[in-house]
């Protein structure tokens, strides 16, 4: 069985994000980029499943500009067998939204025919938390999102997923092929060692375009402006409930 892992190149989580002076988007020049932390967990889970014998091959995929190949090399250095790079130059005014990403991944999945697609639950730049779910819907495959534990049964072609939900942990059983999105507590991603990084250089990255996959990436949403959060104003200590009501009515105008 093959596992397809989708990864995303995002601004490194430790970087202070700033808005560009022209307010068209967030500053990404001269800024450190890395693999989305949830995607690292997804790659790690796929590798563990392969090491446990439940899968034969782990394929990493990403959608992005030429530099996204770095992210794929990370996945390969961690242990993925090969990678697919869907080339797309980002336009800050029309970023790729989850629905389009899901459509592209669907096309890749239909080509690769994996038994399992694993993604991070959300990307730390847009925090959408939609791609995995939409992908499952488009493929008409079952989904196990916010996974904190995954057990694969190869003979029965089933995956048992423990999901972190508001009320606690929900355990569901999915028939393969299925889509799983990872949550933080699923695993601790491994370090890529120097020898593995060197090995990764010779692993194959297949390059395709959205046109090759017959996916229309036109977006019907446009980003008009990005602003920094307004600075928090100092709080005011009031002396009575009457004063509070007065301020709520006349200043904040919420009553």
């Amino acid at each position: 069985m093959k596992i397809l892992v989708a990864v995303k190149r995002v601004v490194d989580y430790a970087v202070k994000v700033r808005v560009k002076p022209d307010r068209t988007g967030v500053e990404t020049a001269n800024v450190k980029m890395s693999m989305n932390p949830f995607c690292e967990i997804a790659v790690e889970e796929a590798l563990r499943l392969r090491e446990a014998g439940a899968a034969a091959e782990v394929v990493a995929a990403t959608i992005g500009p030429a530099q996204s190949a770095d992210t794929l090399r990370t996945a390969l250095a961690m242990g993925a067998d090969r990678a697919v790079h869907v080339l797309h130059d980002p336009d800050p005014a029309r970023p790729l939204l989850p629905l389009v990403v899901a459509k592209i991944l669907r096309a890749v999945a239909l080509q690769e025919k994996p038994g399992l697609v694993i993604l991070g639950k959300q990307a730390i730049d847009d925090d959408c938390n939609q791609t995995g779910q939409m992908l499952a819907g488009l493929l008409q495959w079952p989904q196990g999102t916010f996974a904190s534990k995954v057990l694969l049964d190869k003979e029965k072609q089933k995956a048992t997923v423990e999901r972190e939900v508001d009320g606690g942990i929900e355990t569901i059983c999915l028939k393969l092929p299925a889509v799983i999105t990872t949550d933080l507590r699923l695993n601790q991603p491994r370090y890529a060692t120097l020898p593995n990084i060197m090995k990764a250089k010779s692993k194959v990255i297949k390059k395709v375009t959205p046109e090759d996959l017959n996916v229309d990436i036109r977006s019907d949403m446009e980003v008009t402006e990005v602003n920094e959060q307004p600075k928090r104003k100092a709080g005011v200590i009031l002396s009575s409930v009457d004063e509070l009501l007065d301020k709520l009515k006349n200043e904040a105008r919420v009553l």
């Binding site: 430790a14 693999m35 530099q67 991603p189 890529a192 120097l194 060197m198 250089k201």
Partner: protein, 606 residues
């Protein structure tokens, strides 16, 4: 989280180009020039040359080696290890760049998109008092120089190196020197990763890897951890120019200022306030492009008053009317700190050891009166590369590196500059007077060579000879507390000392990650105390715990434990890898060792 992985991405991605066309060095050698065998439980990779540190010296050496190979139709495999998560992440410098060495290394750099775009347009020198700025004749001559971000330059140099076939691996920290049975250095080993705070192996444990090199070049920057060990073990200071090294700490911020206030290429240096006449140091304000301003304060680490906090002096400096007005309306974008060498000519060690050599600031070639060390660091890397090439191809001795340094412009330049800094041992006014004498009368041909004073760590007076300095509270607009400079969340702690009460501020509504510093949380602290009782026995009672003040990341704090006794708490996670503690600790009890690769600051425009 997993900087090593991130680093691997960047490395592996950029490393793609190095996999091509390497001519076989020995039958059956894989294309990337590494042979592996298992030795002492660790995997070992072999290269002809292993370079520790992807800074200007390390990369200049790597580039020069590959150029020499091309010219001679030979091939040498070259590997550069870098502890930062990406090349440039740990590089911080003023920087007014003198292109002398780069002109020799890559003569066509102007046509190759080098991030050297802003020529120096004006050069001012001010003497500051609390409220005034007096213009003095500028002792600098920066015609032909450029205002740059060294972090950016070094990233560009790394791409040039990789184009030539150098393998650059950021995210890997060289923590150990490898020796053979004859005590000859045979390479370095990276540290084991995935060890928990208590020393046990975590789930993600990976043993370090040995990188064996026929020649090893150490280019770790000022006070490099491996370099210091080699210098001590091989007595390289005594065998060189003889004097100990002296240091300063540079604290720097990059600001984006208002359009009307920005003059690209404007260079200003100041002396005087806020430092007193007994403390050597000064500030710099360099205008880059894109409305960016590099602003910093350099304080010599042989200061006497243990209550001095270079970070707070810097914040104070920013409040000077002439400086404040530049910063008002602007935003602080990045913050960082790093120590630098001030020993100059008198402190140059003999830089060759069996199996390799020390290059760049790890040896110490900074020209103090010019306040420039990048050009000499690069030149030293190039000279070492030339000696290395000859040693590996023709079998000559690495001693040639030392000979070449003495014949080069590095030597001449540092010799001419040798008396400026030591003159200040006699005080500020004598220092200025002697400097004027050097510059205008002797013009570098002075018949004497002044000596340095006490080593920096011995220069600290006991706390009872000074009064604590009351630093003004940060205003959050121009001046900031350390947590704001480092990152957001921080606990408020009250440190109670026998005579004084110190309060650490916190401002949790800010979400600044200005230094982008972070380390994997669950790892043993990399700042080691040789004797764990010394802080509470000596540092605190005698010197009032100076480490809690000179560290620009507030790694060291004295907190009261349950019994009410003060205890040193080390927040190793904040560390900016500046090495001030390794230098200034009065009993030299603090040892800076290298943490897991990929941690530390994330400078991009410093």
């Amino acid at each position: 989280m997993h900087r090593a992985i991130r680093a691997a991405a960047a490395a592996a991605g950029r490393g793609l180009s190095s996999a091509r066309g390497a001519s076989p060095r020995s039958p059956g050698a894989p294309a990337w020039g590494a042979i592996r065998w298992l030795c002492s439980g660790r995997e070992a990779l072999s290269y002809d040359v292993v370079i520790v540190g992807a800074g200007p010296a390390g990369l200049a050496a790597a580039i020069r080696l590959k150029q020499l190979c091309r010219a001679a139709d030979a091939d040498l495999s070259v590997c550069v290890l870098e502890k930062g998560s990406e090349v440039g992440a740990h590089v911080l410098s003023g920087n007014v760049f003198e292109p002398r060495a780069l002109d020799e290394l890559i003569p066509k750099w102007r046509q190759e998109d080098a991030p050297i775009r802003v020529p120096v347009s004006s050069d001012k020198f001010w003497l500051l008092t609390k409220n005034q700025a007096w213009t003095l004749p500028s002792p600098f001559d920066n015609k032909g120089n450029y205002v740059i971000s060294l972090s950016q330059l070094v990233r560009w140099m790394a791409t040039k190196a990789e184009e030539l076939g150098v393998e650059v691996y950021p995210g890997f920290a060289a923590s150990e020197i490898l020796y053979d049975e004859n005590q000859i250095v045979t390479g370095v080993a990276t540290n084991d990763v995935g060890i928990a705070k208590d020393g046990t192996k975590r789930e993600t444990f990976q043993p370090g890897v040995e990188l064996r090199g026929r020649i090893t070049l150490l280019a770790e920057g000022c006070r490099g951890s491996l370099s210091e060990k080699i210098i001590r073990n091989h007595k390289l200071r005594e065998r060189g120019q003889g004097q100990h090294q002296t240091y300063a700490i540079g604290i720097k911020e990059i600001w984006e200022i208002e359009e009307g206030k920005h003059e690209p290429g404007s260079v200003i240096h100041t002396v005087g306030w806020p430092l007193d006449t007994k403390t050597y140091g000064g500030s710099f304000l360099y205008h880059l492009d894109d409305r960016q301003l590099a602003i910093g304060l350099v304080v010599a680490l042989n200061y006497r008053n243990p209550f001095l906090s270079p970070y707070d002096e810097f914040q104070k400096f920013k409040q000077h009317p002439a400086v404040r007005k530049l910063l008002e309306g602007g935003t602080a974008v990045q913050y960082g700190a790093r120590t630098l060498n001030e020993g100059g000519f008198q402190s140059i060690p003999y830089p060759v050891f069996p199996g390799g050599a020390i290059i760049g600031c790890s040896a110490g070639f900074l020209n103090v009166p010019k306040i420039k060390g990048t050009h000499t660091a690069m030149k030293s890397g190039m000279l070492a590369a030339e000696a290395t090439f000859q040693a590996l191809i023709e079998g000559s001795s690495m001693e040639l590196y030392w000979e070449n340094i003495k014949k080069s412009w590095i030597w001449e330049e540092l010799r001419t500059a040798r008396n400026y800094r030591p003159a200040f041992e006699y005080g500020f006014v004598p220092g200025m007077a002697l400097s004027a004498l050097e510059r205008y009368v002797f013009k570098g041909k002075s018949p004497y060579t002044l000596k340095h004073g006490k080593p920096d760590h011995e220069a600290t007076d006991a706390a009872n000879r000074h009064t604590p300095i009351q630093y003004p509270k940060p205003d959050g607009q121009i001046t900031f507390d350390v947590p704001t400079s480092l990152y957001s969340y921080f606990k408020v702690e009250v440190m109670c000392l026998p005579n004084n009460i110190f309060i650490l501020y916190s401002n949790p509504s800010f979400l600044w990650y200005r230094s982008n510093t972070n380390h994997e949380h669950d790892q043993p602290p990399h700042l080691r105390l040789r004797d764990p009782t010394v802080p509470e026995r000596i540092n605190l009672p005698v010197y009032a715990g100076p480490e809690s003040r000179y560290c620009p990341a507030r790694v060291y704090e004295y907190v009261t434990d349950e019994k009410g006794d003060p205890k040193l708490h080390i927040n190793a996670q904040n560390c900016l890898h500046c090495k001030a503690c390794d230098i200034k600790d009065p009993k030299q009890n603090i040892e800076w060792t290298v943490p897991e690769g990929g941690g530390g600051p994330g400078y991009t425009v410093m």
